[in-house]
């Protein structure tokens, strides 16, 4: 057998398991999601082709609107604050002794199950008996709010939990980025008489920008996928105030068995995530600097 043909056979043998997996569990489901979004189907009877009706339905559906605005609001609450705090702690930790010990604590929530995190925070944020309100009363004499049952506070509360859980992850990425900046830049700028502040704005921040872009893209995608905390802590409530896009997709499909409508919502979520990802990479040219 000639080596070229042998390579072809070996190549396909080696990728076969993953290729089958890709087709069966990712590519076909992705295409199917688009197909399903044009059908009226409950998963049991016959499916009926209805074109873009599921999409027009989605935009008129108050649940969809609620889920979409909640999700966008949640992203707005978590992404900038989460990234800012992670950057701040990473910079603080970068040249500190005992960095490893601090990092150990900061990263603990990242490896913990989101369900356990949700349950513990449900208790901490309980409006009547939760330790946060008890301490507010004890120390400051203020009556704390009903964090999880107040329509206006429930999403910010979930955002706090989400930021707390994710800060260590983003911080570790920033730390890796900071370690990658050559000391030469700082030494050269010191000779030129640059202050610490100038070094931060002119060297650290620009050279960290590829990491910042990466962290931001992941953080945005992640915030659009929020589900576990809302499911466990509030069941989307009160009055759908913490009802999110993934929750909506989940409920349409697995509670109401409206597979077509659920897939239309999923396709819209996909399009939005793609849109924001492309938007960020597009605008990144203006602010991301790659060291050469």
């Amino acid at each position: 057998m000639n080596p070229k043909r042998s390579n072809t056979i070996w190549g396909f043998v080696f990728i076969a398991p993953q290729l089958i997996g890709l087709l069966a569990f990712s590519l076909i489901p992705l295409i199917a999601a688009f197909v399903l979004s044009t059908l009226n189907w409950d998963g049991f009877g016959a499916a009926e082709f209805i074109g873009i009706d599921n999409f027009t339905y989605a935009f008129k559906n108050p649940d969809f609107q609620k889920a979409m605005t909640n999700t966008l609001y949640f992203a707005l609450l978590t992404v900038p604050m989460g990234i800012f705090l992670a950057l701040l702690t990473a910079v603080a930790l970068n040249n500190v002794r005992m960095r490893v010990v601090y990092r150990l604590f900061f990263f603990m929530p990242v490896v913990t199950s989101s369900v356990a995190v949700a349950i513990v925070w449900m208790w901490l944020l309980n409006g009547d008996f939760g330790i946060i309100n008890v301490l507010l009363k004890q120390i400051f004499g203020v009556q704390g709010p009903q964090w999880l049952t107040d329509l206006k506070l429930v999403l910010p509360s979930l955002a706090i939990v989400s930021i707390w859980k994710g800060i260590g992850f983003n911080m570790v990425l920033f730390l890796a980025g900071l370690q990658g900046i050559s000391r030469d830049y700082y030494e050269a700028s010191m000779i030129d008489g640059a202050t610490k502040r100038q070094q931060f704005w002119r060297i650290t921040l620009p050279l960290l920008s590829p990491t910042t872009l990466f962290v931001t893209i992941i953080a945005v995608i992640d915030s659009f996928k929020v589900f576990d905390t809302a499911f466990v802590m509030t069941s989307g409530g009160p009055a759908k105030a913490s009802y999110t896009m993934v929750y909506h997709i989940y409920e349409l499909a697995f509670k109401n068995f409206q597979f077509g409508k659920s897939s239309a919502a999923a396709v819209l979520l996909f399009v939005i995530i793609l849109f924001f990802t492309l938007l960020q990479t597009h605008y990144s040219r203006k602010w991301v600097h790659y060291a050469d």
């Binding site: 070996w10 190549g11 399903l36 702690t89 929530p109 490896v111 004890q138 992640d222 996928k225």
Partner: protein, 277 residues
């Protein structure tokens, strides 16, 4: 003068970092200690962190309230199966993409990469229907097989490492008469062990903590994973906070212990690859 000022700012920095660290670990401490209190202690004002006396029987109570032991076994073998599956299939595909010339190689690799952009929430409904047709719903296969057979991230990560191995190594083995499988198994795999370790940790944490798929695919309590069991536990004992805290502790402790032992490798593995566990 200058040194004193420097030390003062360092001290301030440490105080700040200690305060933030406290915020990061306080919920864990509160969870563990509240789980060992009784209800009257939990509502006691002013609150105290430590139980007095300690109600160790809470652990036994939550262990018997729900079949947590079964959930542990389920989670453990599901996660281990997926790790083993991914190590094998991802490394095979990664090796092929990095070291074998075959038609459509680049096109197929781009297809793998583009799947990184698709959140699992988007494909969950069709995946559910496919698994239903296979008769795998409410079996562990519904969790094990898809994740074992497909991880665009795993393929991408390992390919990066295979790319770094010099060509001469496999070519000289080839001249010596080794076939592709021998080159892959005997020469390449031992060289990418650090990457395999990183992938193992990430895949393990990701599947152990996964909630979205088990909550949709599993319906029989006996088959539940730890996070799913915990969420059910919450639904049943929502007012018994001591039990919920001891239940959460039971659910979290093994992963936290593993984390404390392997934290360096876990953090660095995840930092290196930039994926969420």
């Amino acid at each position: 003068m200058n040194t004193i000022k420097l030390d003062f700012s360092k001290l301030l920095l440490h105080l700040l970092l200690i305060a933030v660290s406290a915020i990061m670990i306080a919920p864990f401490l509160w969870m563990v200690f509240s789980g060992l209190k009784d209800l009257s202690q939990i509502f006691q004002v002013p609150p105290s962190l430590f139980p007095h006396p300690w109600y160790w029987e809470n652990i036994h109570r939550s262990l018997t309230a729900m079949p947590f032991d079964k959930a542990y076994i389920n989670s453990a073998y599901i996660s281990v199966s997926i790790v083993v599956g991914q190590l094998l299939t991802c490394s095979m595909a990664a090796f092929a993409f990095a070291k074998i010339n075959f038609p459509f190689r680049n096109l197929l690799f781009i297809l793998f990469l583009s799947m990184l952009m698709v959140p699992e929430q988007v494909t969950i409904v069709p995946l559910y229907i496919i698994l239903k047709n296979f008769g795998w719903l409410d079996t562990h296969l519904s969790l094990i097989i898809p994740d074992s057979l497909f991880s665009a991230f795993g393929v991408f990560l390992l390919r990066q490492f295979f790319m770094g191995i010099p060509r001469d190594l496999s070519e000289s083995a080839y001249v010596d008469g080794a076939n592709m499988w021998t080159i892959y198994w005997r020469i390449m795999i031992p060289l990418v062990k650090p990457a395999l370790a990183a992938l193992s940790i990430i895949a393990f944490l990701g599947t152990w903590n996964n909630f979205f798929r088990p909550v949709i695919f599993l319906s029989t309590t006996d088959k539940y994973t730890v996070p799913l069991m915990l969420s059910t536990f919450k639904g049943l004992y929502v007012t018994d906070w001591t039990l919920m805290m001891s239940g959460s502790t039971i659910a979290v402790l093994p992963v936290l212990l593993v984390y404390l032992l392997l934290q360096r490798y876990i953090i660095e593995g995840i930092a290196m690859t930039g994926i969420k566990g």
